[in-house]
């Protein structure tokens, strides 16, 4: 093994080692040991990821197996790494956010009895997520995919005494499993069509398979494969209608809402589709479906964010909406923009969640914004950093989210796909909504008069440095990252061969062609953005929020009453939960109950098994009457029998 191969393997293993030692070490490790060991692990991981990133930038890539998991029918299933630009970017984002969250957790979980368990889980999560993004084949991708799902399940239900938490984690797992079914079938289809699960083998062969169809139909295999894989992405990246688990996942402690349910795991679906770009590119049908689903998610989930009162749920719906933006980018073949938004979003959304967590801790686990307000002076660092996060989220020109989101909307604008016009409208309108709910959160939390009792307000103070430092460290990339990376990542061929785009789909190239060479692209985007519709709508949304929540605080209540129909629809989240509960959860139980009582108990056991026994019993009770014990009756029967037998014998 070369030195770099050791580096690759230590990136996930140092997290796994931390998780195992802390998870099984018990009291030998202790609380301090727990965070020291896991943080050392993830910090090492982050440092090594940076080394890999630099190494990849110099043109070094890697594709190789670590070990053979199994062989069946001559097909090897392997565990291995593919290190290219996409992987390098992902591992840096994952390990950095994870590192920040680890540090922050020291403060957030300080009083929790499950402190050690928590660190073990998040380290395990980081391991699983790294295995997912570093994989060089579909099988390991699925391994990581399910493993992050497992840890997500464990962490949503971290406070296992709460009924709401253990309902939410079961729901999350099952909804994800629906997606996983599609994913697994997609993998089976890949193996069937290509005879291999190795990325590069499959991607290289894909163009030749572009025209092959499912037997006896005209459906392209590429469409089937892409759509099945996308079902998996819909589960993990919470796209409508498989989004229902994500808001409920807020039952978990806030650090994991930031790490798992905003920055990393939920973006796995986006990553996966980008990784599979050589397959998705070959099916326009799939791309259009992706775009429509993404657009619906982006706009309609943002709307729900307008009416939520739980600070974490607002951010959760915002996450859903932003995932929709990323998904649309994938559908518009602007994979680089999708991944770039994934990266910027990871920073500013983690920042927003951790900021919310800081508020929650300061208010002793109060999450309802109706009981907040006026925290600005009490928590200045949290306030400033959250404003930075908000500016990044709404896409204020110059902040990280601006570059990535604007690129997505522009890409959709340039896309020739039939679904593009719908997506364009949805995303553009979404910018207004995003700005509105984002500022609403800031205003309700930090501005206006405090809506809690006076004594409680007096006792509020800024959280300790272990919590604010990650906020500051996350705020830095939320401001800067766009200026530095927008040009190479989107227009400079950063991803090289790791993402494939057909020339006729290449929307980003069309945007790039419009830029002049004299100025930096970032600068041109800002200048152009200032006069473009999305930014104008963003500013309008911001002004509207200011108007409603600062100048006329009586307006929201009035609006809710006036527009009660719309308000109720949003409060009920379009009724997805009720529908699922009634049709799937209760439906499955009813069918199961019917099968059991009617099938197993009544027909099989009642009629057939015990019925046979009863038959035998009845038959013998009848037959018994013949056995009278009287010799003359037996003799008589014998004679009759003998006579009948002889008649038959002689006559034949």
């Amino acid at each position: 093994m070369t030195a770099m191969e050791y580096v690759y393997i230590f990136i996930p293993l140092s997290c796994l080692a931390g998780a195992v030692v802390v998870g099984l070490g018990g009291s030998y490790v202790g609380r301090v040991g727990a965070h020291r060991i896991t943080i050392t692990g993830v910090a090492l991981s982050f440092a090594l990821s940076l080394i890999v990133f630099i190494d990849v930038m110099q043109g070094n890539r890697f594709d190789g197996a670590v070990y053979t998991w199994a062989v069946s029918d001559g097909i090897p299933f392997e565990i291995g790494f593919l290190i290219d630009e996409l992987t390098a970017l992902m591992i840096v984002v994952v390990t950095f956010v994870s590192f920040m969250v680890h540090v922050y957790t020291i403060g957030y979980m300080h009083d929790d009895p499950g402190y050690q368990r928590f660190f073990s889980y998040i380290a395990l999560f980081t391991f699983a997520m790294l295995m997912l993004v570093m994989s060089n084949n579909f099988l390991q991708l699925f391994f990581g995919w399910e493993a992050v799902g497992l840890v997500s399940y464990l962490l949503i239900g971290f406070w296992y005494k709460r009924e709401s938490a253990i309902a939410a984690n079961l729901k999350a797992f099952l909804v994800n499993r629906v997606g996983d079914l599609g994913f697994l079938l997609g993998i089976a289809a890949v193996l069937y069509v290509f005879g291999s699960l190795d990325y590069l083998t499959v991607f290289t062969a894909a163009p030749q398979m572009a025209e092959t169809t499912v037997p006896n139909t005209e459906t392209l295999w590429m469409t089937v494969i892409s759509l099945l894989l996308f079902v998996g992405a819909m589960g993990k990246s919470a796209q409508v209608p498989l989004h229902v688990w994500l808001p409920d996942s807020m039952e978990g402690p806030t650090p994991i809402s930031a790490l798992i349910h905003a920055a990393t795991m939920v973006t796995a679906g986006i990553f996966m589709v980008a990784r599979m770009s050589p397959l998705f590119e070959l099916s326009d049908t799939a791309l259009n479906v992706v775009m429509v689903i993404g657009a619906v998610t982006a706009f309609f989930m943002a709307l729900i964010g307008l009416v939520q009162n739980d600070i974490k749920r607002v951010i959760a719906y915002s996450t859903l909406s932003q995932l929709g933006y990323m998904t649309v980018a994938l559908g518009a073949s602007a994979y680089a923009a999708g991944i770039f938004h994934l990266g910027t979003h990871a920073f500013f959304k983690a920042l927003l969640f951790l900021g919310a967590g800081s508020v929650i801790i300061a208010l002793h686990h109060q999450q309802d914004m109706r009981a907040m307000g006026g925290l600005r002076q009490k928590m200045p660092i949290t306030w400033i950093t959250m404003i930075i996060g908000t500016l990044a989220l709404i896409g204020f020109p110059g902040f990280a989210g601006f570059f990535s989101k604007d690129a997505i909307i522009e890409a959709v604008h340039f896309s020739n796909q039939p679904a593009a016009s719908f997506a364009y409208v949805a995303l553009t309108a979404g910018t207004f909504v995003t700005a509105f709910y984002s500022w609403r959160l800031i205003f309700l939390t930090f501005h206006g008069k405090p809506r809690m009792d006076k004594e409680a307000f007096e006792h509020v103070h800024e959280t300790p440095w272990v919590m604010t430092l990650p906020l500051v460290l996350l705020a830095v990339p939320s401001i800067m990252i766009g200026w530095i990376y927008v040009e190479p990542v989107l227009f400079g061929g950063f991803f090289a061969d790791s993402i494939k785009v057909l020339p006729e789909h290449d929307t980003l190239a069309r945007i790039g062609a419009q830029q002049d060479a004299a100025h930096s692209i970032a600068w041109q985007m800002v200048v152009h953005g200032l006069t473009a519709l999305p930014v104008i709508l963003t500013l309008l949304g911001s002004v509207a929020a200011y108007l409603v929540y600062i100048l006329r605080p009586d307006l929201p209540g009035m609006l809710a009453r006036r527009l009660s129909v719309a308000y109720n629809i949003l409060m009920n989240k379009y009724g997805f939960d009720e529908f699922n509960e009634f049709v799937f959860a209760r439906g499955a139980r009813r069918i199961g109950s019917f099968f059991w009582r009617a099938g197993d108990v009544r027909v099989i056991d009642g009629l057939m098994v015990n019925g046979t026994a009863r038959m035998v019993g009845w038959f013998s009770s009848v037959i018994r009457h013949i056995q009278t014990g009287y010799v003359y009756q037996y003799a008589f029967v014998m004679i009759i029998g003998l006579f009948a037998f002889m008649t038959w014998f002689l006559s034949s």
Partner: protein, 491 residues
């Protein structure tokens, strides 16, 4: 030694059983326990010698022994193992050790008899997997029923008589038809040698009739829908050890029978009737999973889950591909570990609370955190989580099924959702939540002995999930040979 190793693995536990029985009354129970442990461990170690001496590159029978037994009917004491039976034998010897340890304190009455019954059964079960003579096979096959009958009948629950009779009649009726099939084959071929039957030509009509004769024996054992209803009853009434052996090994006899008899002896009928078996398998996967969802009794739930998981085995076998059969075999072994572990988990709870009812529990994690962690692992394995053994077989079978018909794969794949639903919903109601009642509050976490049992099984579940390579490697040659047999025509 090598020449008789297989016989030793069969007869050593039976001799051990006689010795244990000779300790007699419960006053000498400690001695009985120790003897049982020694014999089961020794058998396990010897079976590992079998494994280490096993050549994975050939499909031929290994460690063969052949002695004339009844000359009139040319019945032989003929033994041998191949890549299909090898892993099942190890599974048997391994789980017997677990069951002996698990019963250490729990069984306080008729201890020697209890332990002896399991040792008897171990020998007989290994005998089933090692027999190459049809009559010898039949003797072991039926003999195995007796100790199980006794175990449920004596150490079982309140409704044990109904359960034992149902269990006995179900399986006996099936196996009698199998005996008829053996006799027919003997009449045609003048031999009871299973290997010679493999190459003996048979007409389609003969094959069809024989197929149903065999099918009635194996389908009951698997158990396949609709002859599965004995299993939940037997499990509910059986003591923990009985449930473990029943689920982990006895259910594998049916699958083994399909591979040893139906597929190679009756290839044309097997292919002709494949759709029939596949449909029954898919019904098991979907229908039974839904039935499992609404069970209120933990043991019943796991029993139904076993039936659904066995659906993957028969589905995989009747696809007639290497991947399908290997997937089915892996599923059999993995299910041995997982269902065994889950029944032990229920046993752990039952020993403390004397209830199998999900409603009696809630919040067990508060008082038994270590146990909760183990059960989480096994629940996830039961739900087929990658990284555990439960994933490997299902994955391979779904891949294989997809190649034959996409809809088979879709229906089989629903286990991803349903399997997780019934397992984790049960877990949620039993383990998570606030402490439900005073009895739960008074629970003590698992003892060292229980930790040992669950820990060993957990290790196997993880090893097999993370590195299934060696498990599959053993099978390759034999399964490939089997597929050529099953896809060739005898007509």
């Amino acid at each position: 030694m090598r020449n008789y190793l297989l016989s030793v693995v069969i007869w050593l536990p039976i001799i051990g059983a006689l010795l244990v029985l000779s300790t007699g009354s419960d006053q000498r129970a400690p001695l009985a326990r120790k003897l049982s442990l020694i014999f089961s461990l020794a058998t396990f170690l010897l079976s590992l010698f079998l494994y280490s001496g096993f050549d994975v590159n050939t499909a031929d029978m290994q460690f063969t022994e052949k002695v004339l037994w009844v000359s009139t009917f040319s019945i032989y004491y003929h033994l041998g193992v191949d890549g299909i039976s090898m892993p099942l034998i190890i599974l048997t010897t391994f789980l017997t050790v677990i069951v002996v340890i698990a019963g250490w304190q729990v069984i306080q009455e008729k201890t020697a008899q209890y332990m002896a019954a399991f040792l008897f059964m171990e020998g007989l079960m290994v005998g089933v997997f090692a027999s190459l003579d049809a009559i010898l096979f039949y003797v072991f096959w039926e003999g195995m029923l007796i100790p199980m009958f006794v175990i449920i009948g004596i150490w079982g629950g309140s409704n044990r008589i109904y359960a034992t009779i149902k269990f006995f009649l179900y399986t006996l009726l099936g196996s009698l038809l199998m005996l008829v099939a053996f006799i027919y084959l003997y009449h045609q071929s003048d031999t009871f040698s299973i290997l010679q039957h493999h190459s003996f030509p048979l007409s389609m009509t003969e094959q069809m009739l024989l197929f149903f004769a065999f099918f009635s024996a194996f389908a009951v054992k698997v158990p396949m829908f609709p002859v599965h209803t004995w299993l939940p009853d037997a499990h509910v009434e059986a003591p923990t050890g009985g449930s473990v052996i029943l689920a982990a090994i006895m259910l594998k006899m049916g699958g083994y029978g399909f591979l040893r008899f139906s597929l190679p002896i009756l290839p044309d009928a097997s292919r002709e009737l494949a759709l029939f078996v596949i449909v029954l398998s898919l019904i098991a996967i979907v229908y039974i999973a839904l039935v499992a969802l609404v069970q209120e009794d933990m043991k019943k739930l796991i029993a139904y889950s076993s039936i659904a998981h066995m659906g993957f085995v028969t589905l995989g076998f009747f696809i007639f591909s290497v991947q399908g059969i290997e997937g089915g075999l892996v599923q059999m072994i993995s299910h041995g570990f997982i269902s065994g572990a889950l029944f032990l988990c229920v046993g752990v709870l039952y020993d403390r609370m004397h209830s199998r009812d999900i409603k009696s529990y809630g919040g067990v994690v508060n008082t038994m955190p270590v146990f909760a962690a183990f059960m989480m692992l096994f629940a996830m394995a039961n739900a087929g989580l990658p990284g555990t053994s439960g994933f490997v077989g299902e994955f391979l079978v779904i891949l294989a099924a997809f190649k034959v018909n996409i809809w088979y794969a879709v229906l089989a794949g629903t286990t991803l959702i349903f399997g997780a639903a019934y397992t984790l919903w049960m877990y949620k109601r039993v383990i998570f939540g606030e402490v439900a009642n005073e009895e739960v509050r008074g629970l003590t976490d698992i003892s060292q002995r229980e930790t040992l049992c669950l820990g060993l099984l957990a290790a196997m579940v993880l090893i097999m999930g993370i590195y299934p390579y060696p498990f599959l490697e053993v099978m390759h040659a034999s399964v490939e040979h089997l597929v050529t047999q099953a896809t060739a025509s005898k007509l």
